[in-house]
Amino acid sequence: MRKKLLAIAMCLVLVAASFAGCSKSDNKDATNAAATSEPTKATSDSDAGKTENTGEKITITVTKWGEVTENDVETKLIDEFNKTNDKNIEVKLDVVPGDGYGDRLTTSFSSGEGYDIFLSGEGDFYKWVDKGLASNLNDLIKADSSFANNMTESIYNMGKINDGQYYLVKDYNPMCLWYNKDMFDAAKVEYPNANWTWDDLYAAAQKLTTKNDDGTFKTFGFQAQSWAYAVSCYLESKGLSYISTDGKTADGYFNSPDMAKALDWYFGMADGETRVSPTTADTDTYGDGTSMMVSGKLAMFISGGWVKSSLESAGTNYGTALIPGNHTSYICAAGYTIGSRCKHPEAAWEVLKMLTGEKASELRTQYEAVLPTSKTQLDKLAATFTDDQKALLQTLDYGVQPIGLRGALGSKINEILSNTFDRVVFKDGKTQDILNEELNGIK
């Protein structure tokens, strides 16, 4: 009964809409000569349905966030592919500004279509699978004997959700400890090393924190960010996990007394006059961790590989180290997947391989200064790294999937993390109580 009512209502609206369409085009010509003189040549080239009836040429639509620059790797790859492929595939690329990517993707999905291939950040990997919008690539991979996977294992595995390979990673950033060598030298503190515990880090940070004559902070030793990934790296490297290893229980993990204690210790670094870390308020003023490190105001912070090019272009004398404790680190990644509504999965698979393959990896390393996904390229790059930079690559051996990718419970936990940490930072109650409350909220 309900379904029927709904169907009728929806039909009415849709009929009205399409009727509006007809009557619209009639009287549009009458009322507005100016608008019709607008260029209309490209009216229907994005219609995915069109590819079906033509039969010969298969159009594969691809979208990604980013900027339009002359060295855009996707544009280079796709231009080349469109010219050379023998399967009569034509790839169309839509580049969307990062600010609006989410909204654009949502709207295009809302119509029931969306893109054949779309880019996603690892934070959304689970979501698209859960909503049934990303395709499981296992069968395509199995059927394709020519698929030569040359990715570093932990990187390839980033695209796995519940044993299905859903994404092929295009670029990634492991998180590690970055430090400003000049500041360490000036304070005569030894550089961080692989044997460091978190207490060692704190001791060093205290020495590296200095004040001006008027009592304001001149430099900070370490940035205890409330960014969920940075906090998670800290917790996991101390052997604390939000959920059990089988991924089924959070009670007693997320809200364990140890967890509460560890969080208090961590955020205590950024609290009060004796703090060794800038508060979120400080970073409003001085800029994010990278900017502070560049301007010599911050000695250490945990962040992803994207920091490298910023530090280098600013000429900062930096080094990298494994995260203290057991070195567990999150990997951030962006990967392409085939949309589950794609009508030509085989063709899309060819395109996907092209977008994430050896050549792509090489070009990205060259133009985008990212770490290569391919083992061969990575080895080549590693040879050019100084000893102080190598920790960034070594950290891959300790890299794990962020919590949000580890099943339904992990994904739920991920959603409450930033609010939880905010509450701890602003002391919205006892940490233990906050953890209990937030966990109850998702049950």
Binding site: S25, T40, S46, V68, G100, S291, M292
Partner: protein
């Protein structure tokens, strides 16, 4: 008399203080746009040496001319459509006592109260159905249907303030209502039409969501989207961001400067007779 002088003096002082407060963030923006990269996060207000090259850097790193041209191509029809049709509709509301006028006018006002976020998806679905996605049509054609409730309202209020004697005089001379509209009312509405024109200009110029959702091909992007590309390229380069923002703002500033008298005269809410 002395009292009034004291009064104006005080007002002058207050206005001056307010003006300074208003200008500080703006001057700060200009200063930021002129700072060299190394001084972005320094506390100093003024750049040690102004770097005018920032503007050039900002302009050349995105395809500025293309985005500008695309914006103009959307802007011009929007201006034409909005000004003409909103005036026509406002004329209908202010000069004819047709049945159901009050109700329609209330509906018109009520449409201003709907949040865009919920109608956005249904609108998108309709435009998709029409095959208008990836064209500028969804950003242009609605302007030819009244152009927006707020503009109709402004125009209607202004027109109501024009004494009906003018219409009567023309009617006695045998003018049709259309002729009265185009020859009598429209010329008298210049101030409010300017105001509507400028608001439309600002709306189209700064619109981010519309172009984002309807224009797929980055070759068709508008300046607002181009600026967003720019933000992606220079995440923490505040000086370049501010320089680009200032460049994009410039046309609106000039326009307002030129037309400010009209804007103030053009806005009339009380629909009282203009003196």
């Amino acid at each position: 008399m002395k009292n009034t002088k004291l009064f104006t003096g005080l007002a002058m002082l207050l206005l001056l203080a307010g003006a300074v407060l208003i200008m500080v963030p703006l001057v700060w923006t200009v200063c930021m746009a002129l700072k060299p990269d190394s001084e972005i996060y320094l506390k100093s207000f003024f750049p040690s040496t102004p770097v005018f090259g920032n503007f050039k850097r900002a302009l050349t790193s995105i395809d500025f001319t293309r985005y500008l041209w695309n914006t103009v191509k959307i802007l011009i029809p929007n201006l034409i459509g909005t000004i003409i049709t909103s005036a026509i509709v406002a004329y209908g509301f202010s000069r004819f006592n047709f049945k159901g006028k009050r109700v329609w006018f209330l509906i018109l006002l009520a449409t201003m109260m709907l949040p865009g976020q919920v109608t956005m998806i249904p609108q998108y679905l309709i435009f998709r159905q029409l095959g208008w996605v990836n064209t500028a049509k969804p950003l242009i054609i609605p302007a030819f249907f009244g152009g927006g409730a707020f503009y109709i309202f402004l125009l209607r209020q202004y027109m109501s303030g024009i004494p009906k004697d003018f219409d009567e005089a023309a009617r006695i001379d045998g003018a049709s209502s259309l002729r009265i509209f185009s020859k009598v009312i429209m010329p008298m509405c210049k101030p409010v039409l300017t105001a509507v024109g400028i608001f439309t200009f600002m709306g189209v110029w700064n619109d981010f969501n519309g172009p984002l959702i309807y224009l797929y091909d980055s070759k068709k992007f508008t300046l607002a989207l181009g600026l967003s590309f720019f933000k992606g390229l220079y995440t923490s380069k505040w000086n370049l961001l501010m320089a680009a923002t200032l460049v994009v703002m410039l046309p609106i500033l000039i326009l307002f400067f030129v037309a400010q008298d009209y804007i103030i005269d053009g806005i009339s809410i009380s629909s009282g007779t203009k003196g």
